[in-house]
C-alpha cells in the first residue's frame, strides 16, 4: 500500500518536533487511561470481579474489587501513556503500548464483571481463552493464506471465498465419504480451486487482483449457495452431515492450568494452525523458498534477472495459500457445524484485516487474529452477562482497529512493494 501521503499544500510545519508519533499515541493512551479510571471506576460496583481459572464460577480465581480494579488498571494505562508522552526511549514503546492497552482492557473488564447481575460476577478464563482461539482459527488460516499470496506479490482479497469453498468442499465430500480425512483433503482442494482461478486470472490474464478477489468471493458465495440449496437442503443426510474431528488431548501439556484445557485439548485444526504459523514464519525468513518469495513480492524484476522464476513461484504460492485457507474453511465444517449458506460471513475480510494489522508477517497475523478473536469472544461473553455494551460495537472492533492501523496511527504499515502488481516480463 502506498502509505505515502500526497502532500498538497506546501505549508508544512513539520511535525517531527515535539509531537512524535510515540507522543501522540502516549497522549491518546493517557486520555483513555484517565477515562477508564474515572468512568469505569464510577460505573463499576463494589462486587468482586472474579476471573476464574476454570470453565465456570468454581475453582481458584483472581478476584479484585470492581471499583478498585477499574481505577487501578485505568491508572496503569494512564501511567503507560504518560511515560510515552514524556518521551521514553524507543525500545520501550512496544512494552508500554502493550501495558497501556492491557490495562485499559482490564479496567473495562473489572467494570463489566463487577456490574454483571449478581451471581454472574465472574469471567471463566478457560472459556474465554478457548473461545478466543476457536474464533481466531479461521482468521489464522485466512491470514496465513494472505501472507503466502501477498508476500509473493499477489493481493488476496479472495480469502473469504477460499474459506467458504473449503468449508463447503469439506462438508460435502466429508459427508459423502464419511471420512474426516477425505473431507480435509477435499477442503484444501476446494480452497485451492478458488486460488487457481485467482492465479490464472491475476498472473496469466493480468486481471486486477483486487477486482478478481472480489469477484471470486461472489462466485464462491453463489456457487456454494446454489449447490447448498440444490443438494444439501434436499438431502441433508447424504450431503451435509460431515463427520467431525474429535479433540486430541496432549499429555502433560493439557494439565497446565487454564492454558492446558483451553489449548491442549483441542482438535487438529488448532494444532495445525499454530504449527503452520511457525513453519511459514521460519520458511519465509530462513529458507531459499522464503527468500525468493519475498524477493518476488518486493522486486520481481530483480528476482527475474537472477534466474528466479517469478510467475511459477507466484502460482505456487497462490495455490499453497488456497490449500491453507481451504483447511481453514474445514475448521468450520469438520469440527463444529454443518455447512450453511455464506457461513464464513465476513471472516475472510477480518483475516485480511489481521494480515494487514500483523504487517504481512505470520506471527504478527497470529497475534492480530487472536486479538480479533478475543474481541469476538468478549462480545459473546458480554451478551451473556447482559452488558450495556452492545455486542455489535465489539464486533466492529477488528475493522476499526484496521482502519486505525492503515491510517498510520499505530505505526507504519508497509505492504510488500510489488503487492498487487502483475509481473510482465521485459
Amino acid at each position: 500500500m502506498s502509505t505515502m501521503a500526497v502532500p498538497d499544500v506546501a505549508v508544512a510545519p513539520v511535525d517531527e518536533g515535539f509531537w512524535t508519533r510515540n507522543r501522540k499515541i502516549g497522549a491518546v493512551l493517557l486520555a483513555l487511561g484517565v477515562l477508564a479510571a474515572v468512568l469505569f471506576g464510577a460505573l463499576a460496583t463494589d462486587q468482586q470481579a472474579r476471573f476464574t481459572l476454570s470453565e465456570d464460577s468454581a475453582g481458584a480465581a483472581l478476584a479484585v474489587n470492581g471499583t478498585f480494579g477499574a481505577i487501578l488498571f485505568g491508572v496503569l494505562a494512564a501511567a503507560a501513556g504518560a511515560a510515552l508522552l514524556a518521551g521514553v526511549p524507543k525500545r520501550w514503546f512496544t512494552l508500554l503500548l502493550g501495558v497501556g492497552v492491557v490495562g485499559f482492557v482490564l479496567a473495562f473488564l473489572c467494570w463489566q464483571v463487577s456490574a454483571a447481575p449478581t451471581g454472574q460476577n465472574f469471567m471463566p478464563m478457560v472459556n474465554i481463552l478457548r473461545g478466543t482461539f476457536i474464533l481466531a482459527l479461521p482468521l489464522i488460516f485466512g491470514a496465513l493464506a494472505g501472507v503466502l499470496c501477498e508476500r509473493s506479490g499477489v493481493v488476496n482479497v479472495a480469502i473469504e471465498g477460499q474459506l467458504l469453498m473449503g468449508a463447503f468442499a469439506g462438508a460435502l465430500f466429508g459427508t459423502m465419504s464419511g471420512s474426516v480425512w477425505v473431507g480435509l483433503v477435499a477442503a484444501a482442494i476446494g480452497g485451492a480451486f478458488i486460488s487457481l482461478l485467482l492465479a490464472v486470472f491475476a498472473i496469466h490474464y493480468l486481471v486486477d487482483q483486487v477486482v478478481m478477489g472480489i469477484v471470486l468471493n461472489l462466485l464462491a458465495v453463489g456457487l456454494t449457495g446454489f449447490l447448498y440449496e440444490r443438494l444439501m437442503q434436499t438431502d441433508t443426510a447424504k450431503y451435509n452431515q460431515p463427520p467431525r474431528f474429535s479433540n486430541w488431548e496432549i499429555p502433560l501439556l493439557s494439565d497446565i492450568p487454564v492454558i492446558g484445557p483451553a489449548l491442549f485439548r483441542a482438535n487438529i485444526f488448532l494444532y495445525l494452525g499454530l504449527i503452520l504459523v511457525l513453519v511459514i514464519h521460519i520458511a519465509l525468513f530462513r529458507t531459499r523458498w522464503g527468500l525468493r518469495t519475498r524477493a518476488v513480492g518486493e522486486h520481481p524484476t530483480a528476482a527475474d534477472t537472477l534466474g528466479v522464476k517469478v510467475l511459477r513461484l507466484r502460482y505456487f504460492n497462490v495455490l499453497l495459500a488456497g490449500l491453507v485457507a481451504g483447511v481453514g474453511g474445514a475448521s468450520y465444517t469438520l469440527a463444529l457445524y454443518t455447512f450453511t449458506k455464506n457461513m464464513i460471513g465476513g471472516k475472510g475480510f477480518i483475516a485480511l484485516a489481521a494480515l494487514i494489522f500483523g504487517r504481512w508477517n505470520p506471527t504478527g497475523a497470529l497475534l492480530a487474529a487472536l486479538f480479533f478473536g478475543f474481541a469476538d469472544q468478549l462480545g459473546t461473553y458480554l451478551g451473556a452477562i447482559n452488558s450495556v455494551i452492545p455486542s455489535q460495537f465489539l464486533a466492529m472492533l477488528p475493522y476499526l482497529a484496521t482502519i486505525f492501523a492503515v491510517a498510520g496511527l499505530v505505526g507504519k504499515v508497509r505492504a510488500p512493494a510489488a503487492d498487487g502488481k502483475p509481473y510482465i516480463k521485459g
Binding site: 505515502m4 502532500p7 498538497d8 499544500v9 506546501a10 505549508v11 508544512a12 513539520v14 517531527e16 530462513r286 529458507t287 531459499r288 523458498w289 527468500l291 525468493r292 519475498r294 524477493a295 518486493e298 522486486h299 524484476t301 530483480a302 528476482a303 527475474d304 534477472t305 537472477l306 534466474g307 528466479v308 512493494a417 516480463k425 521485459g426
Partner: protein, 533 residues
C-alpha cells in the same frame, strides 16, 4: 569481445544499447540473429542461462531488493543451502563470500547493510559483487555513471581497471564520451539499433559524437547576449527535505532576473529536483523564502504558483508532465483547463480546447496523428514539445525547465532550446536545471552549481568545463582567491559571483547567487536563515 578487454558501447539515448544488452543477458529474446560465445552459438532462454554462460549484468536501474541486506541480495537466485530438503539458507557462507569478493576487488561492501540505507554508489558496487560471486567472465555495465558523482565515477573506473587486470571482460554502455576515452580499449558506436562504427579510444570527441548522432551537432545554442532586468525569482535560505525526510536542499539562495537564463548544473540527486519542486509548491518549504516579483510564494499551492505566471516543465515527463491516457488536446490544457476560454464555472468548453490544441500543435511542431490521439502514443520528443507548448502558451514571469531535453531526439532538442531562448528574449526569467552540463553551458547566461543541497558556486557560461566539473564534485576553488576576476563575464553584465560556499557547517551561505546591487528584495542574508533553521 576478448578476455580482459573493456569494450565501450556508445550511443545516444534510445539507440538500442540497453536492449542489445538485455538480449545478451537473456531478458529479451532476439527476433533473429545469434549470439556466439567462444565461437559456439548460444541460446539464452533467460538470465539463468546467461549467468551459466558467464555473463553478468549491472542494470541501469539497480536490480536490488531494497528491504534486503547486501548478503541476501547477493545470494538470491544462487542460494547456498544446508539442511537438505528444508533448503535453509546458509547466511554465514553468503556473508563470507560477499566479504571475500569485496576485499579481492577492493569494493568495500558491508554484507549486513540494508540496501535502501546505502548510497547509490555503494548499491552499484553491490550489483558488481552480485555478478562477481557468480563467477562471470563478462560483465555488462549499463549506463553505470548516470547516477554517480564525478568522484564516484572515478572510483568505478578504478574498480573496472582492477577487474580488467583480473582477466574479466567488461561491456561498458554509456553516452558519455569522456569516460569512454578514459577507460575503453575498443569502442562500438550504435545508432538506431545498428552498429555504425567502431573506433579506438584515440578518436576525438567530435568524431565520436558525430558517429553517435549521425551528423555533426552543435552543442552550443545560438543566442544573443542576455539583457537581464529586475530580479523575478528570489530564493533565500531555502531548506527542503526529500521523500525520505532527508535534507535535500540545505540553505539555497538564488536569484533569476527577467530576461536571463540561470542554469543549475550538478550531478543528479544533489537537491535540484527538490529545489524546483519546492519553488513550485510541490514540496513543503521547511525554512527560507521564495518570492516571485517581490511577492512571497512559498507555502502557496501549485495551482496558485502556476497562476502567478510560472511555467514549469517537470523533469520526468511521463510521470509528472503528462497524463498519457489523455489526448494531446487535453494535455495541452492540463493546468489551465478551468480557466477561460477552456472552462467556465463547472463546465468545460471542448471546442475552445480543440481549437487551441490545433494552434499549439502547429506552432510547436508537435508531430501527432491528431489532437485527439493519446499523448502516450507520441515519441518522446513530441511529448516533450506538448509540455513546452502548454507551458509557453500563456504569459509568464518565470519559466522553469527541469531536464528539458532528456530522452529527446536531436531535432527536438534544438527546437526546445530555441524556444527557451526566445522566452528569455521576451523578458521572462528562465531557470533551467539539467544534469547534462553541455546543455546548461549552452543555454545559460549564468550557471549555478549545486552540490549536496547547496549552491556552491555561480559562474559564467564561459567558465571552463573542468572547473564546473570540479564544482559539481564539490571541490571549490579556495574561497580566499575570488574567481570573479578570472571568470570572463561577457554574457552577463551583472558580474556573476564565483564559487564561495562560505564553507558551511550551518546554513550560512555567503552572498552566493546574489548579484550585488540588483537585489530589490528584503535584505536576506545568512542570519535569516539561521533564525528559521
Amino acid at each position: 569481445m576478448e578476455p580482459g578487454e573493456i569494450h565501450a558501447l556508445l550511443g545516444e539515448n534510445g539507440a538500442g544499447k540497453s536492449t542489445l544488452m538485455n538480449v545478451l543477458y537473456g531478458l529479451y529474446q532476439p527476433d533473429e540473429g545469434e549470439i556466439l560465445v567462444d565461437g559456439t552459438p548460444l541460446k539464452l532462454k533467460g538470465p539463468s542461462d546467461a549467468i551459466a554462460a558467464g555473463i553478468g549484468m549491472v542494470h541501469q536501474h539497480f536490480m536490488l531488493v531494497p528491504v534486503f541486506t547486501v548478503a541476501e541480495n547477493v545470494m538470491l537466485g544462487a542460494e547456498q543451502t544446508r539442511g537438505g530438503i528444508g533448503g535453509f539458507l546458509d547466511r554465514r557462507r553468503a556473508r563470507r563470500e560477499v566479504a571475500e569478493v569485496s576485499e579481492r576487488y577492493n569494493l568495500r561492501v558491508d554484507p549486513d547493510a540494508v540496501i535502501e540505507d546505502l548510497p547509490v554508489g555503494i548499491q552499484q558496487r553491490v550489483e558488481i559483487v552480485k555478478a562477481l560471486t557468480r563467477e562471470v567472465d563478462l560483465l555488462i555495465l549499463d549506463e553505470p555513471t548516470a547516477v554517480l558523482t564525478p568522484q564516484e565515477t572515478e572510483e568505478l573506473l578504478a574498480v573496472m581497471r582492477s577487474l580488467k587486470a583480473a582477466g574479466k571482460s567488461i561491456v561498458f554502455i554509456t553516452h558519455k564520451l569522456g569516460e569512454v576515452k578514459a577507460i575503453a580499449d575498443r569502442i562500438t558506436v550504435i545508432r538506431r539499433g545498428k552498429t555504425v562504427g567502431t573506433a579506438s579510444p584515440e578518436a576525438s570527441r567530435d568524431e565520436l559524437a558525430a558517429l553517435m548522432v549521425g551528423r555533426s551537432v552543435r552543442l552550443t545554442v545560438d543566442k544573443a547576449p542576455a539583457q537581464p532586468k529586475e530580479p523575478v525569482l528570489e530564493v533565500t535560505g531555502l531548506v527542503v527535505d526529500d521523500d525520505r525526510q532527508c535534507r535535500a536542499v540545505d540553505g539555497v539562495d538564488l536569484t533569476v532576473h527577467a530576461g536571463e537564463v540561470l542554469g543549475v548544473a550538478g550531478v543528479q540527486g544533489n537537491g535540484q529536483t527538490e529545489l524546483i519542486e519546492a519553488i513550485m509548491g510541490l514540496r513543503p518549504v521547511l525554512a527560507g523564502s521564495v518570492s516571485l516579483a517581490g511577492q512571497g510564494i512559498h507555502g502557496w499551492s501549485t495551482k496558485k504558483v502556476l497562476r502567478a505566471g510560472v511555467g514549469y516543465v517537470p523533469e520526468d515527463r511521463s510521470v509528472d508532465g503528462l497524463v498519457k491516457e489523455f489526448s494531446v488536446a487535453e494535455n495541452l490544457v492540463l493546468d489551465i483547463y478551468d480557466r477561460p476560454p477552456f472552462g467556465s464555472g463547472l463546465a468545460l468548453k471542448p471546442d475552445a480546447i480543440a481549437k487551441s490544441a490545433r494552434e499549439r500543435i502547429e506552432q510547436f511542431d508537435v508531430r501527432t496523428p491528431s489532437a485527439d490521439a493519446a499523448v502516450g502514443t507520441l515519441s518522446g520528443g513530441n511529448q516533450q514539445k506538448v509540455i513546452v507548448a502548454r507551458e509557453l502558451s500563456r504569459p509568464l514571469k518565470l519559466f522553469i525547465a527541469a531536464q528539458p531535453t532528456r530522452g529527446v531526439d536531436v531535432g527536438s532538442i534544438e527546437f526546445i532550446h530555441s524556444r527557451v531562448i526566445r522566452e528569455r528574449d521576451i523578458g521572462t526569467a528562465v531557470l533551467v536545471v539539467s544534469s547534462e552540463l553541455d546543455e546548461v553551458i549552452g543555454l545559460a547566461d549564468r550557471i549555478a552549481v549545486m552540490y549536496r543541497g547547496r549552491i556552491i558556486g555561480v559562474v559564467g557560461p564561459d567558465t571552463p568545463r573542468e572547473e564546473i566539473g570540479l564544482l559539481m564534485a564539490g571541490i571549490t576553488p579556495d574561497a580566499a582567491t575570488p574567481e570573479n576576476a578570472a571568470t570572463p563575464t561577457a554574457a552577463t553584465p551583472d558580474a556573476p559571483t564565483a564559487a564561495t560556499t562560505g564553507d558551511t557547517t550551518d546554513g550560512t551561505t555567503g552572498p552566493v547567487g546574489d548579484p550585488d546591487g540588483t537585489t530589490a528584495g528584503p535584505a536576506t542574508e545568512g542570519p535569516v536563515n539561521e533564525d528559521k533553521a
